[in-house]
Each structure stands twice: as structure tokens, then as C-alpha cells.
């Protein structure tokens, strides 16, 4: 037991230093967040050390202060005719629109697949056909069919988010405890009530997990989506900067995407914790 000393045990070090003994159970212990902070600090420090040593040319890896300076500059100033917040907003709009569409389509369709085996047999090949394809592979088709407008960009991200949401929902629905369903039936539940009061809440933890995974997949498609004749967006910003070897803008874009994606992920985790506090508990 590394925790607090009990009243039965003398605390020699506190007597030596004259500091009051720590109250029971209050001794400082590093938490998960402390370790995470340490990891990030280590990464930043290595980055700084590596660039400050002059071993790597700024063209390949700009120093952190250069990226930070670029960040300050682009808050108001523009790169490729848009400020950083404008690029971010353009990407966020696409992401959120695609997410909304994927949730609106994916959850009901996932429920249908989970409830009706026939729907699963019919749709499973379609989903499994397109799911492993790299978005860049079917990007040309989407451009040919839907043009180079906003719809094609959102569609590409939507497809990336849809598969995880669909699969997680179908699996969540199909794996709701049969005993729970039988108990509800014996309490007089109709088929609709069973779905509404037992199956859906039971599948909710998995549905939210599907949305979390989907959102990650969506972000990873963002750059591909913004290859389609975009004039704004973080993916577009990174690609344009890459063409002119403006490495600090590339790194800045990567960091902004990572931070925004992480913030959304944290929000979804909070939501999951609030909506489904029983998740992960023995029940």
C-alpha cells in the first residue's frame, strides 16, 4: 500500500523536515492527464531540440516557434486568400454536414440491418465492398458523377463516416441482451416499444462509439475531399503549402486538424459518459 500512512505508523520524514504530515489519502499521485501532458511536452521539447541543433533544415522541419509565428500571422492574415479561421470554418462545415448526414442515414439504416436479417444479407456486401476502398480511389468517380462542387467534398467525407456508424449501430442493435428483450415482452412490450425502450437505449453506447470512430475516419478523408477544386479548407491549405514547400504552414495545418479532431473526440466522450453512464459497468 503506497497510499497514506495510518495513525498507527510514525512518519519520520515529515518529523525531520518539520512539514505537517500529509492528510490521509492526499499524497500527490500522477494522473493519466499528467502523463499525457508529459508525453506532449516531451514531443515538443524533442522537436525544438532537433531544429535548434541545426541538424535538420527548416525546409524539412520548421522549428516550433516558426510554426507558432505563422499561426499568429494567419489568425488575421491570409494564406491562399483565406485566414486560418476561414480555412478551419470551411473544413468544419464540411465535416459537420457530413457527420450529420451520416448519423441521419447511418443510424436508422443500421437499426434496420440489425433488426432484419434480410436487410443485413442484402446490404452487407455493398458496405463491405466500399468500406475498405481508399477514398482517393473512388474520388474520380465522385467528381465525374457529382461534379467539383461542395456536394462531392461532403459526400466523400460522408461515405467515410457512414460505414463505421452503420456497422456499429447494426452490431449494437443485434447484440442487445435477448433476456432483456424477453423480459420486456413478458411485461407487455409491443414490437415498437421493444425497439424504442429496450433495443435503442441498449445499442446507444455502441452507436456513439461508431460515431467517434466515424469522425476519425472523416478527418482522415478531409485532405482527399479538399483535393476537389477547393479554395478554402485546412486540407486545401496543407496541399497548396506543400506545392510551394511552405513547410511551416503544412505543419500548422496538421496541428490544427489534430487539435480540432481531438476536441471533438473529447466532446463525444463526454457525451457518451453523460448519455450512457452504465456503459462499461457490470449490470
Amino acid at each position: 500500500m503506497s497510499t497514506s500512512p495510518t495513525t498507527l505508523i510514525a512518519v519520520p520524514d515529515s518529523l525531520d523536515t518539520g512539514t505537517p504530515p500529509a492528510p490521509a489519502g492526499r499524497r500527490w499521485q500522477p494522473q493519466a492527464t499528467h502523463w499525457a501532458a508529459l508525453s506532449i511536452a516531451g514531443l515538443l521539447l524533442s522537436w525544438w531540440a532537433l531544429t535548434a541543433s541545426g541538424l535538420i533544415a527548416p525546409l524539412f522541419l520548421p522549428p516550433p516557434q516558426a510554426v507558432l509565428a505563422r499561426f499568429g500571422e494567419l489568425l488575421a492574415g491570409s494564406y491562399m486568400d483565406a485566414t486560418l479561421p476561414q480555412h478551419l470554418l470551411a473544413s468544419l462545415q464540411r465535416m459537420l454536414l457530413a457527420l450529420l448526414a451520416a448519423v441521419v442515414v447511418g443510424i436508422p439504416l443500421g437499426i434496420v440491418i440489425g433488426v432484419f436479417p434480410l436487410a443485413r444479407h442484402l446490404l452487407d456486401p455493398v458496405i463491405e465492398f466500399y468500406r475498405p476502398l481508399p477514398p482517393l480511389a473512388y474520388l474520380p468517380l465522385i467528381v465525374i458523377w457529382f461534379g467539383i462542387g461542395e456536394a462531392s467534398k461532403v459526400l466523400l467525407i460522408f461515405l467515410a463516416i457512414l460505414a463505421p456508424v452503420l456497422i456499429a449501430t447494426a452490431h449494437g442493435v443485434a447484440s442487445v441482451s435477448p433476456l432483456r428483450q424477453q423480459a420486456a415482452l413478458s411485461l407487455g412490450a409491443s414490437r415498437w416499444q421493444l425497439l424504442r425502450h429496450v433495443i435503442l437505449p441498449g445499442a446507444l453506447p455502441e452507436i456513439i462509439t461508431g460515431v467517434r470512430i466515424g469522425l476519425g475516419a472523416g478527418w482522415s478523408t478531409l485532405v482527399a475531399a479538399e483535393l476537389i477544386a477547393a479554395t478554402r479548407g485546412l486540407g486545401f491549405m496543407i496541399q497548396s503549402a506543400a506545392q510551394f514547400l511552405v513547410t511551416d504552414v503544412v505543419v500548422l495545418g496538421i496541428i490544427v486538424i489534430a487539435l480540432v479532431a481531438f476536441a471533438l473526440e473529447l466532446g463525444l466522450r463526454r457525451l457518451q459518459q453523460r448519455l450512457t453512464p452504465w456503459h462499461g459497468q457490470p449490470h
Binding site: 441482451s177 433476456l179 424477453q182 420486456a184 413478458s186 411485461l187 407487455g188 459497468q281 449490470h283
Partner: protein, 260 residues
């Protein structure tokens, strides 16, 4: 008059040559506590599934109040060993769940739920989530939920099987109290011989291969408990022990014949 009537019931699962249940007949009246005792594979869970309306009989029939049982119904509420409560609802809402599904009037519902929570000793934890409770408390919620619904028969599927010995004994006494006060017929399956002997007004011993009834008893220990005798005194009574050993012997003999 019997509420549930089972006549020459047989169940054979698709693709299986041996029936899971063979020629099972029994009846359950409103004031009875019928216990089916047997080892795993004896068909007792299948029997409960048929009574609940989850499994269709292959032969014979099951009648509730004279009508054939073909589907789950509110008059036959089921309590499972675990995993059947709704963790997104608190204790009160779990108990109110059946009445809510049935569209009962809110005031009547609240009265019934409050009475039921008091009966099973859950009034103090009404606002807790089910996953915050111990195993024994959770089984109380399951029983209360079945009671609060408009059930006339409770079907209990090894309700105390996952509990520790101490809690199990408390729950057995709770069940007798609830059964006595609520005026429902109770059908309970278990593999615990002492539990079966202590609770049953009628006991059927079942055996596998094919699942069937091999012995019928009418133990009196339930009445002795209700007459005020101490539970430990009953369970250590030579008559109780003799019957327990005799049932154990029958079970082993059945198992032996099985192996031969």
C-alpha cells in the same frame, strides 16, 4: 383452480434428435409455489421458456386460465438470473416499466410502484441506477418489476443462482413473503436442492436425456416457515436433511443411468 396447465408437453429443437422436453404435465394454482429442480440440460429452462411464451411446444399444450399460450403476455412475468434490467432507468422506473408499457394511469402506477418497492425493501434506493446496486438488490428490482406489472404468475429462472449463500437465503425468505402477500402463482426453476425444498409447495424433479419429470413431492417446509419457524431450524431439521439426501441420491442415480 389452476392458472397454468401443462399437458403432455414436448419440445424438440430443430436439428436435434432427442427432445429437450418429453411428456411434461403439471399445473400451477394461484396459491402455489411450484419448483422445477434439476441439473443443467434437464429442460427446466426450456419449460420456463414455453410457459413464458418464448418457445413454442412441439407436442402437447400449455393453457393459461384455459387459453392456449402462444406468445409472451403480461399475465406471465419473467424474472431472469441477471442481465434483464434496464441500466438506463433508475430502480423506480425499472419497476414502473411494465405498467408504463401497458399504458396504465399515472396515479395508479405510482401507487403500485411505491407499494411494490416497499414490499421488496427497495423504497430507499428508488432513485439509484440498477448498476449501482448489489446482485441481491438487483434481483429484488427484477422481482418488483414482475410484481408491479399486471402479472398473475411469476416465472423465475434461477433467480438467486448468481448470489452468495447469505444473500440467497435472505432472498428466499423475501420471495416467500412476496408470494404470500401478492397472491400470485410462482413457478421457479433451480439446481439448488435446499432452495427447492425450502420454497416449494410442489416440487418436480427433472432429469435430462430427454428432459422429463422423474419425481413429484409436496414439501411442507414452506408452511413451517410461514408458521413462524426459524429458517436455520427448518434447514437443519433431520426431515429436511433426509429429503435433501434422498433427492441428491435420485439425481446421482439419474446421472449414473445416463452414463451407463
Amino acid at each position: 383452480m389452476s392458472l397454468l396447465q401443462v399437458d403432455k408437453l414436448g419440445v424438440t429443437y430443430p436439428g436435434q434428435s432427442q427432445p429437450a422436453l418429453h411428456q411434461v404435465s403439471l399445473s400451477l394454482a394461484r396459491d402455489e409455489l411450484l419448483v422445477a429442480l434439476g441439473p443443467s440440460g434437464c429442460g427446466k429452462s426450456t419449460l420456463l421458456g414455453v410457459l413464458a411464451g418464448f418457445i413454442a411446444p412441439s407436442q402437447g399444450r400449455v393453457l393459461f386460465a384455459g387459453q392456449p399460450v402462444t406468445a409472451p403476455g403480461v399475465e406471465r412475468a419473467v424474472v431472469f438470473q441477471h442481465d434483464a434490467l434496464l441500466p438506463w432507468l433508475n430502480v423506480h422506473d425499472n419497476v414502473a416499466f411494465g405498467l408504463k408499457l401497458q399504458g396504465a394511469d399515472a396515479a395508479a402506477r405510482e401507487r403500485i410502484v411505491a407499494d411494490t418497492l416497499r414490499l421488496v425493501g427497495l423504497a430507499d434506493v428508488a432513485t439509484k441506477r440498477t448498476w449501482q446496486l448489489s446482485g441481491g438488490m438487483r434481483q429484488r428490482v427484477g422481482i418488483a418489476r414482475a410484481l408491479a406489472s399486471r402479472s398473475q404468475v411469476l416465472l423465475l429462472d434461477e433467480p438467486f443462482g448468481a448470489l452468495d449463500a447469505f444473500t440467497r437465503e435472505q432472498m428466499q425468505q423475501l420471495l416467500l413473503r412476496v408470494w404470500q402477500q401478492s397472491q400470485r402463482g410462482v413457478f421457479l426453476i433451480t439446481h439448488d436442492i435446499e432452495e427447492a425444498l425450502f420454497l416449494a409447495t410442489e416440487l418436480v424433479l427433472m432429469s435430462p436425456g430427454p428432459g422429463r419429470i422423474v419425481q413429484r413431492l409436496r414439501p411442507t417446509f414452506n408452511q413451517r416457515y410461514r408458521a413462524g419457524e426459524d429458517v436455520r431450524a427448518i434447514k437443519s431439521d433431520p426431515a429436511f436433511i433426509a429429503l435433501r439426501e434422498s433427492l441428491l441420491h435420485s439425481l446421482f442415480r439419474q446421472g449414473h443411468e445416463e452414463a451407463a
